[in-house]
Amino acid sequence: MSSRRLWIGLLAFVAIVATLLIANVATGNRPILGLDLQGGVSVILQSTDEASADDLLVVQDLIRDELETLGIAEPDVRVEGTNIVVDLPGVKDQAQALDAVDVAGIVTLRPVYACQAGVTPADIGDLLPDGQFALITSDGMQTCVVGAPGGTGEVFSRGSAQAQINQLTNSWIVSVDLKAENQAEWNALAAQCYSGTDVCPSRQLAIVLDDIIQSAPTVNQPSFTTGVEISGAFTEDEVRSLARVLNRGAFPVDVEAQRVETVSATAGADSLRAVFIAGAVGLVVMLLYLIAYYRTIAAVIVFGLSVWGALVFSLAALVSKATNYALSLAGITGIIVAIGVTVDSYLVLFERLKDEVRSGRSPRNAAPRSFQSTWRTIVSADLVSILASAILFWLSVGSVKGFALYLGLTTLCDLIVCWFFTRPATILFARRSTYASGKLLGLEATR
């Protein structure tokens, strides 16, 4: 490959990274910092009814799950006395926080007497006999008179509701599994509605959340074995939101927000400063060592790391903006560790280069060959890290997920910088006549 092409590739890559960095800095876009470093907003929830300690622990897990599916990353959820405290990193204002934690709610299943459009619950609420309630549908078009709850969302297996397309009718449906132990409860309700008894003359069974009818499907069979399919003239959005309602419906008690507090950082500004200073000191000592060891070609490491750092910062800023994954103290320290792994790419390359030069090749000739075999090594090793981060990110929750994200990000940047920067830079460096004689790599000691 000609020097010209290598130079163009190298400079173009550096220019792209620099542009990214400048764009991020100029727009004030930076990674969100975690609760421990920057604090956040905390919402205190309290159950509306008497709740046992176990109930609260179940709600705690459900809320965390629900927040994560909504894309609120790494919330710190815990039970404190009779309250549930939800600390949210990266959330700016209180309204946003309240909105985010409004995920609890009990889904009830109620037989429907009749529905009518153009009436509001307020119109007819007072006219109804005991045990009957007027509720509005989620689209606001109709009001239905429903009976007392015959069951709750707990009859469904948690997380089993899915939006699907029925292949035969080519329409959207929601399928949901029944819990084995609650099958009888559901079937009793379904049988009642299927046969159109006095309590369920409309043959519809309403799925209600927060006093709003999410859906009121007609029951088409007297009993169900493992699962239930809800079909109708649904749009994709309707089906997805219904599936979500069914999935979150298993809250044993309803909770509501009591108050919102802003939270200070636990680790504090001191820790952040300590990490940065320690990181900088460690980096400088490490670079001094590498310069002493590798002499002039260590310049490739210094520049390569700068490019890597800029790329990691830019991507972290973009990713944390898009996904709300906050960078905690552990995350920043993880990045400092990643520096070591990144530097390893250079060491594998330079040691290989030294081997080749020692056994008689000119640096000019050895550089592309060394890179070729080094690249294979680094891709193998980095792919394992990327696999790890992808699987951990996909399957785990909480701070493990955040860790996986930043591990994947730094490793990916390592590969990108290795190919687009280290390769041309090393080859070009080895071509410079001044260094081609063996002064390269600190090798003169051996001559």
């Binding site: 959820v77 200073i277 320690a278 560790v337 070591g340 081997d355 792919l383 696999l387 785990s396």
Partner: protein
């Protein structure tokens, strides 16, 4: 252009550091594998004993604890910290936050579960320090924020990762390397956890992250070493030298890289320990750094002393190494192999009729492409 040219080109350094620097080491790692295995077994036994008897010192995020709300806006985090320190309360993994809402601001202190006597002493001391009546300080029991849910999901993810990584290494290298790499990784994680148990460090979510970092680092390091083993395997595959030689050659060739990588990875972590913990007294940092430091050192150690001997043991039972003849060479003979020379026995046979190869006598095509280059002829220049 015999093998001698390879070794005489750069004279073998007289000092150990010189040989290390010039990549001329000839350390018999394979012959010393029993030391490594003994040390590892010792550490693992210590881990098992310690985990069985002491267990892990879990922090507030795992165990829950007690929280006090101090409704005084001028009471600072540092003051609360001092109160806890005076009462000799273990503040590792504790959480002190100031919280503001429309109803006013207060300081929330959360530490791990204490005895009733300690808890009431803390309440009284906090009230005293903040100049408040004891009754206005709310006490609550706090649940673990790191639920079993998070642990279970992380474990499931890890198991799937191990399966995927085993398949990946098997495809890219071979199953024996996958097995050896994963055993070395488990070895590192177990020993890191063990050190936490033995020294009674508090396990926080950050520690879990540190263990995961160690896991990734260990696998990464082992794969870099194995890549060199595989390369040498191709080079020596038809020479009938024992696999122990291949191991030794590879370990010596990657020694400088392993040393440099360890140094450059460990320096920032030591800086965290010294600057972060020593100067800024950030305790979260110090434990995190200790975990990482120990993990990285075991990670590098296990690649050479656990993964490689394990691989050699597996390979010795497999073709073509099973048929290998002769002892594992050491000393000058090993050095010659490290520097790219051909195995002795083979060369003496070659010397009778064939023209000598300057490097690998393998007739495998890739091996020929990757053999060490012909030494430059100096006289012509």
């Amino acid at each position: 252009m015999s093998d001698a040219a390879v070794t005489t080109k750069v004279p073998v350094a007289t000092s150990a550091s010189g040989r290390l620097f010039r990549g001329q080491t000839a350390i018999d790692f394979y012959g010393r594998r029993k030391f490594g295995i003994a040390i590892s077994i010792l550490l693992i036994v210590a881990t098992v004993v310690s985990l069985g008897s002491r267990g892990l010192n879990l922090g507030i995020d795992f165990e829950g604890g007690t929280s006090w709300d101090i409704p005084a806006s001028d009471f600072t985090v540092d003051e609360a910290d001092a109160v806890l320190a005076d009462l000799a309360i273990d503040t590792e993994g504790s959480r002190i936050q100031s919280r503001n809402s429309d109803a006013g601001s207060f300081l929330k202190v959360q530490v791990r579960s204490l005895t009733d006597a300690q808890a009431s002493a803390v309440r009284a001391a906090l009230a005293d320090a903040a100049g408040l009546n004891v009754d206005v300080i709310n006490v609550n029991v706090v649940s673990a924020s790191w639920g079993s849910d998070i642990t279970n999901k992380a474990l499931r993810a890890l198991i799937i990762f191990l399966v995927v990584v085993a398949i990946f290494i098997s495809l890219r290298f071979e199953w024996r390397m996958a097995l050896a790499a994963i055993i070395a990784m488990l070895h590192d994680v177990v020993i890191s956890v063990g050190l936490y148990s033995i020294f009674g460090f508090v396990v926080t979510p950050a520690t879990v992250i540190a263990f995961l970092t160690i896991l990734g680092y260990s696998l990464y390091d082992t794969i870099v070493v194995f890549d060199r083993v595989r390369e040498n395997e191709t080079r020596f595959t038809t020479t009938r030298i024992p696999f122990g030689d291949v191991t030794n050659v590879s370990m010596n060739q990657v020694l400088m890289r392993s040393a440099n990588t360890s140094i450059s990875s460990v320096l920032p972590v030591i800086a965290l320990l010294v600057v972060g913990a020593g100067i800024f007294h950030a305790s979260t940092l110090s434990e995190f750094a200790v975990a990482l430091l120990l993990g990285m050192l075991t990670g590098t150690y296990s690649s050479i002393f656990v993964a490689a001997p394990m691989l050699a043991a597996l390979k010795n039972r497999a073709e073509p190494w099973q048929r290998a003849k002769g002892r594992v060479v050491t000393g000058a003979d090993l050095r010659e192999l490290v520097l790219g020379g051909a195995p002795k026995s083979r060369r003496s046979r070659d010397g009778e009729g064939n023209t000598a190869h300057d490097a690998s006598p393998s007739d495998d095509a890739t091996a020929i492409l990757q053999h060490a280059p012909r030494p430059r002829k100096r006289r012509r220049r």
